[in-house]
Amino acid sequence: MAELIALSPLAGHLPLTVGQFMLTEAYLGPIHSVAPLPGRRAALDAALLAAGLVFPAPCEIREGTGCRLVWAGRDLAFLMGVAPTEAVCAAAAVTDQTDGWAALRLAGPGIADVLARLVPIDCREGALPPGRAARTQINHMPGLLLREGAEAIVLMTFRSMAATLVHEVAEAARRVAARD
């Protein structure tokens, strides 16, 4: 039987260093969307609690052991890092989206200046502090932003737009770096 070689969404595009900015692929592990079924919210909360997690409030990232639960829309969260338990699957509509997303980690001093050219929200640390996520746009692409630290943000978009994501972010970084 043929041995297939799996490629990550951004393989061949990253890593890149642009001025003071580092663009690397973020390996988030399995990604499952978790949407509470009508009337099953309490059961879902109990199932998540057993796994050491809490359903996130809007724009929140909840950290668990080796995983995180990220708010991703109205009544929707993404479980990253582990597969959901059976109890979670029973109380929520769960979809495996692992291969559907490309995730780029942008790091370095002044990343908010880069994102100001692409994203229509304030990405400075005061407005988007660590532990916060934002569903927004990355130029014309739908995106999910995860603030990881003072100088690191993960940008996620659909895998079909992976090369465009790298191009847009690298170009914006290049233009910010050129001003120094």
């Binding site: 809007p58 724009c59 829309g73 109205r74 929707l76 229509p120 929200i121 934002a134 569903r135």
Partner: protein, 89 residues
């Protein structure tokens, strides 16, 4: 123009799609008189001033009812349509 999403906070206009007047939230009963359906489908006020209309916040997937003013361009608030109830569950 900036619109307050009840989940995400104040966001730029380009994240939203416009639908129309909030008359769409008051759907007549299936057996209502033809005049009620005619009004629902076709008749709209066109006020200079305060009105309420429906917008879709594309990134987070929320329909919202926005209270705004067409004269001053003030936005007086917004609520999630899902929180208004009345939909099928």
């Amino acid at each position: 123009m900036r619109i307050p999403c009840p989940h995400c906070g104040t966001r730029d206009r380009r994240e939203f799609y416009y639908y129309g007047a909030d008359d769409y939230l008051r759907r007549p009963a299936a057996d209502a008189a033809p005049a009620a359906w005619d009004a629902y489908l076709h008749l709209r006020d066109n006020p200079a001033g305060r009105l309420r209309d429906l917008w879709y916040h594309e990134p987070c997937g929320s329909w919202i009812a926005v209270d705004r003013d067409t004269v001053s361009h003030d936005i007086h608030g917004a609520v999630a349509v899902a929180d208004l109830g009345g939909g099928r569950t």
